[in-house]
Symmetry: D2
Subunit: 452 residues, 4 copies
Amino acid sequence: MSLPYKYQTLPIEKVFRDPVHNYIHVNHQVILDLINSKEVQRLRRIKQLGTSSFTFHGAEHSRFSHSLGVYEITRRICNIFQQNYSSEKLGEEGWDDSQRLVALCAALLHDVGHGPYSHTFERIFHTNHEEITVAIITSPETEVYQILNSVEAGFPEKVASVITKTYPNPQVVQMISSQIDADRMDYLLRDAYFTGTKYGTFDLTRILRMIRPCKSGIVFAINGMHAVEDYIVSRYQMYVQVYFHRSSRGMEVVLEHLLNRAHELFPKETAMLQNTAQLLIPFFKENFSLQDYLRLDDGVLNTAFNLWSETSDLILSDLSQRFLNRKPLKSCRFVPEVQDNLISQMQQIVEKAGFNPTYYTAINSSYDLPYDFYQPKLEKHRTQIELQQNDGTLVELSQVSPLVAALAGQEQGDHRFYFPKEMIEERLQNNYDLFGETYQSFASHIHNGELI
Amino acid sequence: MSLPYKYQTLPIEKVFRDPVHNYIHVNHQVILDLINSKEVQRLRRIKQLGTSSFTFHGAEHSRFSHSLGVYEITRRICNIFQQNYSSEKLGEEGWDDSQRLVALCAALLHDVGHGPYSHTFERIFHTNHEEITVAIITSPETEVYQILNSVEAGFPEKVASVITKTYPNPQVVQMISSQIDADRMDYLLRDAYFTGTKYGTFDLTRILRMIRPCKSGIVFAINGMHAVEDYIVSRYQMYVQVYFHRSSRGMEVVLEHLLNRAHELFPKETAMLQNTAQLLIPFFKENFSLQDYLRLDDGVLNTAFNLWSETSDLILSDLSQRFLNRKPLKSCRFVPEVQDNLISQMQQIVEKAGFNPTYYTAINSSYDLPYDFYQPKLEKHRTQIELQQNDGTLVELSQVSPLVAALAGQEQGDHRFYFPKEMIEERLQNNYDLFGETYQSFASHIHNGELI
Amino acid sequence: MSLPYKYQTLPIEKVFRDPVHNYIHVNHQVILDLINSKEVQRLRRIKQLGTSSFTFHGAEHSRFSHSLGVYEITRRICNIFQQNYSSEKLGEEGWDDSQRLVALCAALLHDVGHGPYSHTFERIFHTNHEEITVAIITSPETEVYQILNSVEAGFPEKVASVITKTYPNPQVVQMISSQIDADRMDYLLRDAYFTGTKYGTFDLTRILRMIRPCKSGIVFAINGMHAVEDYIVSRYQMYVQVYFHRSSRGMEVVLEHLLNRAHELFPKETAMLQNTAQLLIPFFKENFSLQDYLRLDDGVLNTAFNLWSETSDLILSDLSQRFLNRKPLKSCRFVPEVQDNLISQMQQIVEKAGFNPTYYTAINSSYDLPYDFYQPKLEKHRTQIELQQNDGTLVELSQVSPLVAALAGQEQGDHRFYFPKEMIEERLQNNYDLFGETYQSFASHIHNGELI
Amino acid sequence: MSLPYKYQTLPIEKVFRDPVHNYIHVNHQVILDLINSKEVQRLRRIKQLGTSSFTFHGAEHSRFSHSLGVYEITRRICNIFQQNYSSEKLGEEGWDDSQRLVALCAALLHDVGHGPYSHTFERIFHTNHEEITVAIITSPETEVYQILNSVEAGFPEKVASVITKTYPNPQVVQMISSQIDADRMDYLLRDAYFTGTKYGTFDLTRILRMIRPCKSGIVFAINGMHAVEDYIVSRYQMYVQVYFHRSSRGMEVVLEHLLNRAHELFPKETAMLQNTAQLLIPFFKENFSLQDYLRLDDGVLNTAFNLWSETSDLILSDLSQRFLNRKPLKSCRFVPEVQDNLISQMQQIVEKAGFNPTYYTAINSSYDLPYDFYQPKLEKHRTQIELQQNDGTLVELSQVSPLVAALAGQEQGDHRFYFPKEMIEERLQNNYDLFGETYQSFASHIHNGELI
């Protein structure tokens, strides 16, 4: 007679070799089954960093490997909590290990609703990866749901509620989602490893030694303050050096225009799009099912671009080629509001040079990117990082770390105006014709990377 | 007035951040233009290790990053040769730096003809990535050709001849292709980094300190013998631990059967395949152009599998799902010839259980994989590794290293029989029906991973 | 006929395997001879971090390995300068490679005057390692002088003037001594490596890509700003986490009291000290020659402590044992001036418990430690770090980096009161006698590591 | 009321930052007390690799850090054994966790009897570090004994018997001492880290995943075979590249001659040696106590050499200077027996050149070094490495690994003849005098590093 599914462990621990955490350890049958589900396997076909791999060629890792990593960090936190701070010893300040399975499932599944190039795709087709994550977990048609529901009735909804932060146990919620959670810790380390930058590297082992459960969630021992500081600085460095990189954003605006163009063409070019992008049709119609969504991946989009690159619509085919062959729009910094008029002028020059400014220029602000920096003073603030002093009282990190206060007090990022590379090519400016003049006048407005 | 294209260097050296070599350094306009060509950019969409990433989830790196790495190692070798062993000093024993550009181009382009899941694809559709590499380099229609031809007339052919090993300068040829060339050195280090195994790691800096040009090609200083040994051992470890991994091969056989099935269905299912795999039609017809080939990538194949997974042919749809959702065939080792009859019996049992053995069993020998181990005694032997003694005489590596002799003298690898996982699932064996018996009889033939 | 000594290079480059820089490369005969000189070899017997190895057991590296490291970074800077920014191309803004040898010699020798546990030793015996460095370089009796003088007459003085910062070429001076020089870059990386902390790690390769000579010295390209920021943060982390560690300082105060005691005992215990510490006599007399100084090393001091640990003076023997057997004084933070009276009271309690407060208590401020943090606004400020913008103008780092501004604006470190561990041992406080009360009253003044 | 000492754990786990294992974790009060004992602290003053740090300048780590490392690996093995293979589950095939404390103590103390430059010192003064280890553990006068004896009566003897391999539990014995024990695993990793070579690096985590207790000791799962192979190859590489390095051995022979000379001088130079090397007198007399031995460390010897370098005996002072200032004897390989006559001739030439051959030449065979390579076929063989197959049967490693068989079957190492560097200095050979001829005749017998 076998144990209930929920308690089934593997006869021999299964491991996955991982370059960041050395090994991912799996002991629960439930977790192994989730990893093998088709909704999770699909994450292998979606890059973690989208267009960033065009700038950092090593960063070709998938959302699958990140999901395993978040699971693994969560597992290690559970182990530490259970060993040192169990609720058996500490009551409600401590960790109740019966929460482990829900935490591990939520960690593994927290990104399961991501699609290809999510950030851009969502803006154009009005999908929402967080809602889809919840849908995948709670819809009876998915393998993920079947597995979770075999644990016990209502379990899928429990896991989903961790992700929507409505789960009653704040320790579980904050493990997966807070200013210093398993998600952020994994992606910083992983993105640093695969880009080959050193900036995202912080001392995970030391952070994990300093993490503590408490009644209100998760805190850090005060003598780990410098380790937490180091994590915050790593995050800052990854933002300014990797996530906000101007070339990756130059590819992102190409992608956005390209998808927009296809979307707009749909009513009159239905047949062509049907033939070249069968799996995207439900999204052009803005009427898609969960199954439609689950068939998308990076390859599906790239294959559409591949086919579109030979289509008769010149804008669609040109943008498709620019994307596939990595021809990002170029950019300069500008000051919003103050320079809005100038932007209009620049767009007119671009138009004069023969480029439709709707598809060949763009405004892009790194502030819009989906990375939240640590700003405890924001009105609708996110979870704070709190340190636990020797006598048990808590203090917010930026109160004791001038370094963090300095980083938290300022906006990071920039506003950029994007345009075709041709506008600033020396070769073209030297033409002794009208176009030459056009290019020259454009270039004269850019100095030291800034609009003037 | 500007320099001839061939001599144009970038005003500021351009670098690409690389996790393996820290930075890839580009100084020549020609190299930058080649990297930006669409044929090279296409390599971003083809994984370096094919189905191995199903086993090692970190190994999602592309042939693009490997190509940059081979270029970089070649560049470093050229620098060392020019600094210490120039032909100006050493005559024909030395390095003639006017060979640098042809070496760099050949290094960067040596894999440009690879397609998606090359090894398997080639067997089924009778393509050949080496011939296609040469075709890309020497066909006037490609961007790569245009760039190379701007260097000077005949230059594309020169570069191609390095790859076909007919180029007259053996130093250049052996940099790119020999037992210890820039290609192998990069892929061992890179595959080790991305899989997260340590085995492939050897001391590149030390190897580069010991490398020497000579009249007949490239040799190593005798006092670097242990560093070369270490490289050979790393190679051995990567083969047995990574490249020959039974699960990756279990995915490969699924892929092979899947493509075979589609190929065979083509005559009668032409319309369906036209609708779902437009870009593969020329290959089903075995009549493809270079442009047809250049439109292929991993995403194109995966998208076809995605669409096939809902097609009416049950074998095609099932195999497509198995591939996308990572359901490898399982395997056991067997002894060819001796156990051939037993294999036939096993296939019959598989058939009894309801699986068509043509598509659900396979024989796979790691000896067929495209990795050559170091075997200097083979009749049609590959380049040897030679060490230069203090008095200038050469000695073949396995003559002085018992460690290498031990590795070189034996065949590495194994022969495996693949079958559906269902055949050995405990759950199914315990059914009290005819099928239960079938499964039991199958399982009884496998002991300790071997066929008995 | 051979070249003048100054131009002699080694027939084959000599390398030293180094865990931090991989290899130290030596090409000049002069440099190899300096490394082999007895004054430089002596640095093998002096630990780089003094008492810090009592806290970080891996940090047992010597000043010898640091000296090689500083040399190597300087060599790499010279290579980059010569390749990209030579004065042949850039005039006085550029690098004049005839300065290379003086720079390399100064780099290798910049710490040659250090003695055992320098910081403490100097305070007690009024030696000065910088003056002694100059003396070693410019005294005809040393091997170092002999070698330098063979380069050309006056060369020793040139090298010394780099170290005293009176050398006319500011590029050479700032390579060896500025806010971001080869010295600091090596010790941060090296100390991080050997302590096993990750904090000191910054991206040396990237910093070296961004470094530029200019007329006034050395600056950094503006687009390397974040790499320089990262270096500053690493430095901050190393100070607060390693260099200012309270336990290392607890060993340092033991050492200081111990040497002080011996010094004070000298007049009446001359014979005993003569027998046990022959090589220290000139220092007790405060009348020492350069040769006397050059015979000192960590082992000489430790051997004296070894012998003193069995001497009849109880304080000297007890402190010697505490030092050898790693029994640091314990400590708490306090507020100078405000709590000076309280300190006196505490010292009285210590005395009541039987410890002479002169030798068993101490005040130690990390501000006195020989590490300068980056504070460009200090009146007598140190060299600033300047960034070069695209148009060539310079800007001071903290003007553009809020992160650095935050770190530069504040004092780092703390003031600590040190006392015997016995004062806070639970075991002793629980004695039901007068001593028990004494210990209790002492302990009651310490809360959360602070004096109250 | 407190627990018996044996069961006392620290209120908060104490950690030591370690560059090799990240953290050393201490939970038992007994272990912390042992670390703080003066006999263990003394190991801080003894280098792990003796004269090897003259060749690899980073390798300045002490026997203290190695001892912590061996303890830590043992602790990890105990954790894995207790978690997965406890005797509660597996009976006598499993691990009995009541053995943990004796294993940890033995691991920490296994090298506590080492003295300065042990290998050489022992040969001259007939000390034996293994016997002294046992003496330290079992002599009531030591702090180590006091601590162990507080655990329970007879406990010191238990710990000692693990080291002498007479302890009845073979699992405990083999953890500390076998072909793949915590000792070897730590020193390979640690020596690789500090020398900066990569050769000693193997995959510790994977090895620890594969290690298993069994009735007869410790074995490895068969599917970890390649990880064990990798460890064996790392060991081989460290031997040939680091431990057998000819320059380190060139310093060792200087040291040996130097100590021999002092020893021989003792009868007639007693007063001088008394004044300069007080702590060595008991050893010159070959009548020393345990306390005499415990006062020795590297600094004591170096300080004696320092004082001897100005003594009137020319051989003693010259050899002392050669040692302190790193002037190794040079060497060439030779064939014992076959070339013994030639060696005699060479020694005569050395004598002609003015060097006493007893003190200025030497024969050194790496086979005499205290490193045992894996040779399962030796008559008096050491513990074998055994692999456990799926059905529980054991197979000796070299039976299944041709790589290991190749390494195990051959003798590694070489025989060298050492002589003064002056004998082969070009400068001296070019003298047009009798000495010139002498040097020339010497040099003519050496070709390609071999005696001819």
